[in-house]
Symmetry: C2
Subunit: 221 residues, 2 copies
């Protein structure tokens, strides 16, 4: 009696039961298979069957974990968003100037994108010349956090009282688009991309670093 009362509440902390373990494992199996298949066939062409075929599981099992391939895709994106969001927030919190706020945001983002090839390769190219962008709740939360950080910075007097929503959108747009371009260049140069974006936001066109070689930025205005 005493034991059973103690055991069940305590066991909540550690989900080390066989049941929980295989559940976690199966989920990961599906996610890994999906990453691989998405990267190979492209998101559009991939079917749920393709994913489970790349797995020892049966077709029905898939639906115990995800509702559709969209949901798998979302989960993969969420992983990325969850990994990068705290880093960005933390960096921005440390910022004492506009320069730091902007530069650390871009630097952190581009470096993460450059590093985490697996996920981004799975997400990037889809079918011929189509690009997908899925704003999952986690990703949207990241956007909102950026906006809220901007608003805090405005309140602190760091930023002038500009439209935080538009500024957030502009940062997001530049980050994603420039990130894409950066991944298309060899070698990846997150620092150059961050320099470019930072200079753009801090001083506009006239302070952008000059191009010195084919598609590589250095120097400054």
């Amino acid at each position: 009696m005493d034991v059973s009362l103690l055991k069940s509440p305590l066991s909540r902390e550690m989900p080390s039961g066989k049941r929980e373990q295989t559940k976690i494992q199966n989920r990961q199996l599906i996610l890994d298979a999906a990453r691989q298949v998405f990267a190979e066939l492209g998101y559009g062409a991939t079917t749920v069957r393709d994913i489970i075929r790349a797995t020892p599981l049966a077709s029905g099992t898939f639906y115990n974990y995800f509702k559709s391939k969209e949901e798998v895709f979302q989960a993969i994106r969420d992983e990325v968003a969850i990994a990068i969001r705290p880093r960005l927030h933390e960096e921005r919190m440390k910022a004492n100037t506009v320069e730091e706020f902007i530069s650390c945001t871009f630097r952190t983002f581009f470096e993460y994108v450059s590093d985490d090839r697996v996920n981004f390769h799975a997400i990037r190219h889809t079918a011929d010349n189509t690009r997908i962008r899925m704003d999952t709740p986690e990703v949207i939360a990241g956007f909102e956090e950026l906006r809220s950080d901007i608003e805090s910075a405005i309140a602190k007097g760091l930023f002038p009282p500009i439209d935080a929503d538009f500024l957030m959108a502009a940062i997001v747009g530049v980050a994603f688009e420039l990130g894409e371009r950066m991944l298309g260049r060899e070698p990846h140069d997150p620092v150059a991309a961050a320099k470019f974006a930072t200079a753009l936001f801090l001083g506009g066109l006239r302070t952008l670093p000059y191009a010195v070689e084919r598609g590589v930025n250095t120097g400054s205005a």
Copy 2:
């Protein structure tokens, strides 16, 4: 595939044969139905069958015109790109200063987006919280044209010798992302969006117009 180019040399001028007419008509029937169905169900959930069902045609006929729903989507996007590209290019050609180059690019783009509700509504909302961006050859050509215009402007001394590729990407990113935000606000204010984007590119954060009301921009630094 451009039908008019493949036709016999003489009939190029006037495709008034009954055959050519129904061909054009059927294509348009499919495109219109697709616009409607995409807007209703979202791109992801739409099937080729849904499109032809919204049409008096038979299922097989669809494949005489398009290979897949992706191709229909591309065709719709291409229409938009073809409509807007010459406008943008023309405006930029008239620009004598950096200010004009940037401001007319954004102004024209945002005004077009705000006006052409039909196509953008068909393209915008997809399934729950997913966004699709398809870079068709025409759209990519629009990007390339922007880059080439930037390069020309650099050659003319209008711009400093910055990385045209990155600048193009930044403009594209801000245009699409801010456009999305603009469409989410009521009423649409393409001028405010253009002002914001232009100020950002010309002078950076410090010259952005101040926010005076909930999500509406006026004034300047």
